[in-house]
Symmetry: C2
Subunit: 744 residues, 2 copies
C-alpha cells in the first residue's frame, strides 16, 4: 500500500520542521509597522513600451534588505518602473527562448501576462522559494496552463530549485521538470496540474475553500495561523468551459474573498478572434455569479492599474474578485502579437529577432540581466523570513492551543492519527442487509470522528448518496468551519474543487459524491485527480441497473471498465459492509491515488468470507470447497453481484462441484499482488471461470481467460423495477450456474 510516498513524506518532514525552527520573531512586529502608501506615489510613465527598456527615469532605489518584506507584503512598491519592465521583459524572453529551443509551446500568454505575473510573484505573493510546501504560502494557479513558461520563468526568477536555467533549457523534453503544461508532481512550486481548460480556476476555488475552512477551524483571535490568498490566471478558454462557471458560482456562494482571479482578456483563442465564438459580457456574468469585478484596461504596461486592482480586490472580503486584465497576446512581437499565430507555436528565429529588436532586448537566449537577478534575489531571504515568522507564530499557537495544534499539524503533514482504522465499522453475516451506499455513510460518519481532514459532500444528492456527516453542519459562507460541502448540481466543478482541497494540504481528505453514471460529467476532473496524485475519494452510488426505474440515462454500464482502464486510480466496488469498510481503508490510505467507490442503491446481504484484508488485496477468495488449489470452477463477481456468485456456488456445491468464489473488488490492487498470491487465487490450470457483474463485460477476459465466460451487460439499461431488469438481462444465479456447467 503506497500510503506514504516520497512527496508526502517530504511534506511531512518540512511541516514538522516548521514547529522546531520557529525562532525568528522579528518579521511579525516589522510587518505590523508597514504602511500602505497611495499608489499615486508610484511613477510609471512608460506607456506603449516598445521603448520600455530605454526609459531613463530613476527613482530612489530602495535597498533590497528594506524592500524584502515590505514590498512583498503590502504592495508598497518602490521599485523603479524601468527595472519592473526589465524584469517583465526577462519573463517574456525566458518564455520566448524556451519555446524556441523546444520548437514547441505557447509563447503568447507569457508575453501578454508577464506584467501581472511579475507583480504577483515579485510584489504581492508570500512564498518561500526554498520550501515550496511551506503551509501558509499564497497559492498561485495558472489555469491557462499552456502558458506554463510564464510560471516556470517566475519560479526561476524567484529562486525555486525546481526551475534552474538548465530546466528552462530542457522545456518540454524527456525527464525535465518543465513539462508542456504545469504538473504539480513534477515541479515543486506548481500547486496543481493544469492544461485542460477550466480545471485550474476550479482547483483555485478548492484551494481558497481549504484556506477559509482551515482558518475558521484553527485561527484564534490572537493568532491567525491560516492566512493566505489564492491567485489564478485564466484565459478566454477557461472562461468558455462550463466547469469554470460551476466553480465560480460556488466561489461566490461561499464568499471566498481571498480568491483573486486574473482574467487574461486578450481577445484571441486558437481559432482566431474571440468574436467568432465568445461574445458574451463576462463582467456581467461574473457579477451575476456574485463576484466583485474590476477591469484593468491596460494589462500590458499599466502596472499601477494592476496594483490598484489587487489592492481593491483584497479590500473586498466577502466576495471573490475577478480582475479582467486586457492584454495583448504575444505582446512585443511586431508581426505576430494580437493573433492566434503566437498562441501555440514558437515565434521562429526571425520573429524572435524582431521581438528582441522591438523590445530592446540585446541579450543572449535565457539570459537574466544582473540587475533583474539582483532584484529578485531578495525573495530567498524574504521567503525564509516569512516562514520563520510563521513558525514563531505557530510555536506560540501550539503552546496556547495544544489540542488544536496537534490536529492542525496532522492536516498540515498528512499523517493519519494512530489507530484511525479501528474506527471502521465491522459486520458479520448476521448484520442486517443494507445498501452499500448506507454502509458507506456509516463508514464516513465513523471516519469523520477520527480523521480531522475529512470533508466533502455531494452534487445535490446528499440524501441519495448518503454522504452527510451527521456530527457537522454545512460548510457555508458564514459557517466555513463545518465539513458538509453542498456542491449543487455541479459534478465537474465538484471534482476539480476537491482536487484543489486535496492538494492544499496533505492531510485534507476530500470526498465527493453523485450517481456513478454522472462520473461522465466530471471525468476530466477525476483524471486530473489520478494524474496529479490527489487522493480524492469519489463516493459513487446507484452503481448499476440496480437503481431501477430511473432508466438507462441513469444506469452505468461501461463505467467500471472505463475507470479500470485509467492509470493511477483505484476503482473499488464493495459487496457488503466489510468490503465497504475495506474500500474506505484503502481509499484513506492512498493519499496519492484517488479512489472511486461504486455503491449500490439496493439492499445487499452481509456475505460470509468478506473482509477488510481481502479488499486490500483487490481480489480474494470468499468461499471455496475445493482442495489442492484445484476447484472445478471459479466464480467471480464484484459488488452487488458477488451475492449472485455466492448463491450459484451454493447450488453447484449441492451438485457435488468444487467451487471457489472470488471477489474482485479492485482490479488494480489485485494486479499489484505477487504472482504467487495471484496463482493462489486464480490458478492458471483452472480455466473454468465465470464472472458476473452488472456492467460491461469489457475487460473481464483478462480474469476469466479465453475459455471462461463473462456475464454482464453490453447494452444500455432500461426503466423498470430493479429485480425485473436483473431478470430480463440475465444477471442471475441461474445464468451463472448454466455458464459454469458450460465451461467446466
Amino acid at each position: 500500500m503506497a500510503s506514504t510516498s516520497s512527496l508526502t513524506l517530504s511534506q511531512a518532514l518540512l511541516a514538522r520542521a516548521v514547529s522546531h525552527h520557529a525562532t525568528d520573531q522579528r518579521r511579525d512586529s516589522h510587518l505590523s509597522l508597514v504602511s500602505l502608501p497611495a499608489f499615486s506615489g508610484l511613477k510609471s510613465t512608460t506607456s506603449a513600451s516598445s521603448r520600455a527598456t530605454t526609459t531613463t527615469n530613476r527613482r530612489r532605489r530602495v535597498s533590497s534588505s528594506h524592500v524584502r518584506a515590505a514590498a512583498v507584503e503590502t504592495l508598497d512598491v518602490t521599485t523603479e518602473t524601468s527595472l519592473v519592465e526589465k524584469s517583465v521583459n526577462t519573463i517574456r524572453f525566458l518564455a520566448i527562448d524556451a519555446v524556441e529551443k523546444a520548437n514547441s509551446g505557447h509563447p503568447g500568454l507569457p508575453m501578454g501576462c508577464a506584467p501581472m505575473g511579475h507583480i504577483l510573484y515579485d510584489e504581492v505573493m508570500r512564498y518561500n522559494p526554498k520550501n515550496p510546501y511551506w503551509f501558509n504560502r499564497d497559492r498561485f494557479v495558472l489555469s491557462a496552463g499552456h502558458g506554463c513558461m510564464l510560471q516556470y520563468a517566475l519560479l526561476h526568477l524567484a529562486g525555486y530549485d525546481s526551475v534552474k536555467e538548465e530546466d528552462l533549457k530542457s522545456f518540454r523534453q524527456w525527464g525535465s521538470r518543465t513539462p508542456g503544461h504545469p504538473e504539480n508532481f513534477e515541479t515543486p512550486g506548481v500547486e496543481v496540474t493544469t492544461g485542460p481548460l477550466g480545471q485550474g480556476i476550479a482547483n483555485a476555488v478548492g484551494l481558497a475553500l481549504a484556506e477559509k475552512h482551515l482558518a475558521a477551524r484553527f485561527n484564534k483571535p490572537d493568532s491567525e495561523i491560516v492566512d493566505h490568498y489564492t491567485y489564478a490566471i485564466l484565459g478566454d478558454g477557461c472562461q468558455m468551459e462550463g466547469i469554470s462557471n460551476e466553480a465560480c458560482s460556488l466561489a461566490a456562494h461561499w464568499g471566498l474573498g481571498k480568491l483573486i482571479a486574473f482574467y487574461d482578456d486578450n481577445h484571441i483563442s486558437i481559432d482566431g478572434d474571440t468574436e467568432i465564438a465568445f461574445t458574451e459580457d463576462v463582467d456581467r456574468r461574473f457579477e451575476g455569479l456574485g463576484w466583485h469585478v474590476i477591469w484593468v484596461k491596460n494589462g500590458n504596461t499599466g502596472y499601477d492599474e494592476i496594483r490598484a486592482a489587487i489592492k481593491e480586490a483584497k479590500a473586498v472580503k466577502d466576495k471573490p474578485t475577478l480582475i479582467k486584465v486586457t492584454t495583448t497576446i504575444g505582446y512585443g512581437s511586431p508581426n505576430k502579437s494580437n493573433s492566434y499565430s503566437v498562441h501555440g507555436s514558437a515565434l521562429g528565429a526571425k520573429e524572435v529577432d524582431a521581438t528582441r529588436q522591438n523590445l530592446g532586448w540585446p541579450y543572449e537566449p535565457f539570459h537574466v540581466p544582473e540587475d533583474v537577478k539582483q532584484h529578485w534575489s531578495r525573495h530567498i531571504p524574504a521567503g525564509a523570513a516569512f516562514e520563520a515568522e510563521w513558525n514563531t507564530k505557530f510555536a506560540e499557537y501550539e503552546k496556547k492551543y495544544s489540542e488544536e495544534a496537534a490536529e492542525f499539524k496532522s492536516i498540515m503533514a498528512g499523517e493519519l492519527p494512530t489507530g484511525w482504522e479501528k474506527a471502521l465499522p465491522t459486520y458479520t453475516p448476521d448484520s442486517p442487509a443494507d445498501a452499500t451506499r448506507n454502509l458507506s455513510q456509516q463508514n464516513l460518519n465513523a471516519l469523520a470522528k477520527v480523521l480531522p481532514g475529512l470533508l466533502g459532500g455531494s452534487a445535490d444528492l446528499a440524501s441519495s448518496n448518503m454522504t452527510l456527516l451527521k456530527m457537522f453542519g454545512d460548510f457555508q459562507k458564514d459557517t466555513p468551519e463545518e465539513r458538509n460541502v453542498r456542491f449543487g448540481v455541479r459534478e465537474h466543478g465538484m471534482g476539480a474543487i476537491c482536487n484543489g482541497i486535496a492538494l492544499h494540504s496533505p492531510g485534507l481528505i476530500p470526498y465527493c459524491a453523485t450517481f456513478f453514471v454522472f462520473t461522465d460529467y466530471m471525468r476530466a476532473a477525476i483524471r486530473i485527480s489520478a494524474l496529479s496524485e490527489a487522493g480524492v475519494i469519489y463516493v459513487m452510488t446507484h452503481d448499476s441497473i440496480g437503481l431501477g426505474e430511473d432508466g438507462p440515462t441513469h444506469q452505468p454500464i461501461e463505467h467500471l471498465a472505463s475507470f479500470r482502464a485509467m492509470p493511477n486510480i483505484l476503482m473499488l466496488r464493495p459487496a457488503d459492509g466489510n468490503e465497504t469498510a475495506g474500500a474506505y481503508k484503502v481509499a484513506v490510505l492512498n493519499r496519492k491515488r484517488p479512489s472511486i467507490l461504486a455503491l449500490s442503491r439496493q439492499k445487499l446481504p452481509q456475505l460470509p468470507g468478506t473482509s477488510i484484508e481481502g479488499v486490500e488485496k483487490g481480489g480474494y477468495i470468499i468461499s471455496d470447497n475445493s482442495s489442492g488449489n484445484k476447484p472445478d470452477v471459479i466464480l467471480m463477481g464484484t459488488g452487488s453481484e458477488l451475492e449472485i456468485a455466492a448463491k450459484a456456488a451454493e447450488e453447484l456445491r449441492k451438485e457435488g462441484k468444487a467451487v471457489r468464489v472470488v471477489s474482485f473488488v479492485s482490479w488494480e490492487l489485485f494486479d499489484e499482488q505477487s504472482d504467487a498470491y495471484k496463482e493462489s487465487v486464480l490458478p492458471a490450470a483452472v480455466t473454468a471461470r465465470v464472472s458476473i457483474e452488472a456492467g460491461s463485460t469489457f475487460g473481464w477476459q483478462k480474469l476469466v481467460g479465453s475459455k471462461g465466460k463473462a456475464i454482464g451487460i453490453d447494452r444500455f439499461g432500461a426503466s423498470a423495477p430493479a429485480g425485473k431488469i436483473y431478470k430480463e438481462f440475465g444477471i442471475t444465479a441461474e445464468a451463472v450456474i448454466a455458464a459454469a456447467k458450460e465451461v467446466s
Copy 2:
C-alpha cells in the same frame, strides 16, 4: 451495416408522404386573417386556485372548430380560465397518479410546471399528434427530464398514439413507452433524451441551430418552408450544470431568436432550498450571456403572465429568450409542496388524497374529464391541418425550386444521395505519408460536396483538428446558411448541441472535434448520442502520446478502452488514408449510432493492404505470409501502431516466420461479423498473438487471448518529442518482435 433502420425509414416515409398529400390549402389563408387581440381581453380571475374547479365564471365558450387553429397559432386564447385550470389539474393528477402507481418518479415538477406546459401544448405549439415527425413542428425539450410525466401527460392529452392511458399506467415499467426519463427512441413525440441535467437545454440549442441553418439555406422570400420554434423547460439543476452555460452562451452568440427557454424557478433542489448551493443572480448571468430575460412572477396561476411572456419572447427575434417562471414545486400538495420531499418520490396515498381535496379533484386516478378531453381533441384535426398546409406550401416550393427541394427532402428524409461514397478519397502505398487528422480533412471536404446535411466544427481547435470545410464559411448569427460551426472551448456543449442537430432531421450529419483526451469533457453528451441513436461523428485528433510535448494532460491513454466499453457507439482508429476513408464511410452510414474517429497528429505512411472494405469489417488481415490459416504468430494493431506491427512482421518474415498482420480499426464492427469470418482472421488454434497500441492494454486480452501479449501504455504519458516517448515507453517494432518470439 445498420444504415437505414426502422425509425429512419418511417421518418423517410412520412417525409415523403408530405409532398404527395398536400391538398388542404385552407389553413394558409385562414391563418393570415387571424388577429392578435390584447391580453386584457382575457379573463383570469381565479387566483390562488385551491378552489380552481369551483369557479363559476362562464365566458362565452368558443366552438372548438373555431378555436382549433387560431388559438394554437396566435395565443388568441378565448378558452375560459376554469377550463384551463381543469386541464392544468388534469396534467397534475395524471403525473401524480402515474408516479403513485409506479411508486417511483418525480411528481413535483409536473405539478409546478403544468400551467406553462398546458399553455405550450394547448395554445402555442404547432405539431401534428398523428405524425410526431412532421418536419416543421415546433420542438419541445424537457431539459429537467425527471419531470417526464409532465410531457407524457401533455402528449396524452394532445392525442399522440405513443402515450395512451395504458402507457401512463405502465409508467416506469418494463417495456413501457413511458420510461423514467424522456427517451426519444422509446416515445415518438419526445425529441431528445434527457435526464442527465443540462443536456436538454443544450440539445434545444442544437435544434434551434438546425432550424436557423435550414431556414437560411432553403427558405425563399415567397415561401418559408422552415419556420418553427424550439421550446425548453429547464430547472435549477440544469442551470447549475456548466454545460447549460456553455450552450446558452453560444445560443446568444448565434442569435437564436426562436429558442424560448422556460426556467422553472422553484427554489428547490434535491438537497433542499437552492439557498444552500445556488444563490447567483441567474437573470443577470443570462443577460451577460446575451439573452432576453423575462420574469413571470406567478407561474402557478398567472396564465396571462405566461402568455404575455411568450408573446414578448417571440417579438424579440435576434436573441434567445429565458422566461424565468417562478413556480411552486408540487403545487397543490398541501403538506409537501415547496419542499424537496415532493421532488423525487410518490406523494403517498394520504397526500394524494389531501391534494385531491385541496385542488377539488373528485376523479378516479388517470381520469381525464370529458370537457378537458373534448377541449384537447381539436389538436388532432389542427395538427393534420398544420401538416396539410405545410405540405401544400412545400409542393409549391418544389415546383418553383426543384433543386433546393430535392436537397431539402434528402435532409428531411435522411436519404443519402446515390453514389455519395464515391466521393471518398482513395490512396495507394505510394501516396504521401500524412497524419490521419489531415486525411480526415480530405474526407470531410470531399463529403461536404455530396452530403447536403454535413455540418460541424471544432471546440476552438479547427486548425489542429483540421475540420474546416473549405467550400463554406462560418455559421454565424448573420451567416446561418454556412456550415462551419465555431463552438469555442465548450466540448460538452458542443456534443450536446450536435445531438440536437442530429435529432432535428434525419439527414443532418453533425460532426464535432477536439483533442481525443478531451472527450472526457463531453463524455456525458457522447453517451447520450449513443443512447439516443444520434449519429454524430466525433472527430478526435491527437489520439495518443504521438502528440508529444503537450504532455500527459493532453495524451489519451484509457480513452480507446473507455469507448470500446460503451454500448451503441463505434470507436474507429484508422491507420492511414484508406482506413480514414473507411471510417468516414462507416460513420456516415451509421445514422443511428455515433462514431468516434481517433486520429493522429503525426504523419503515418500509407500501408499496403488497408482498405475501406476492411474497415467495414472492423478487423481484417492487411498482410500474411502464412498458409492454411495457420500463421506462426498474429500481430495486431490499430491506428498509428499498425505501421509498427507491419514493420515487425517484415523483420520476422525475414527470419522465416509466417506472420499475419491484422488491423483492428473497430472492435464493435469486428464483433458483428460472422463466426466464420472471425475464425478466418483470428483462428482459435493460433494462440501466439501480439497486439500493439499506444494506449491502455485494458481489454486487449479479448483479442490476444490468455497466451498472447498486449503491448501498450498502462501509465500516464509524458512531455517530450513524440519519437522519444514512443521509444521510452517501448511502443516499438523491437518490442513487438521480442513479444512475438516469446509467445510463439
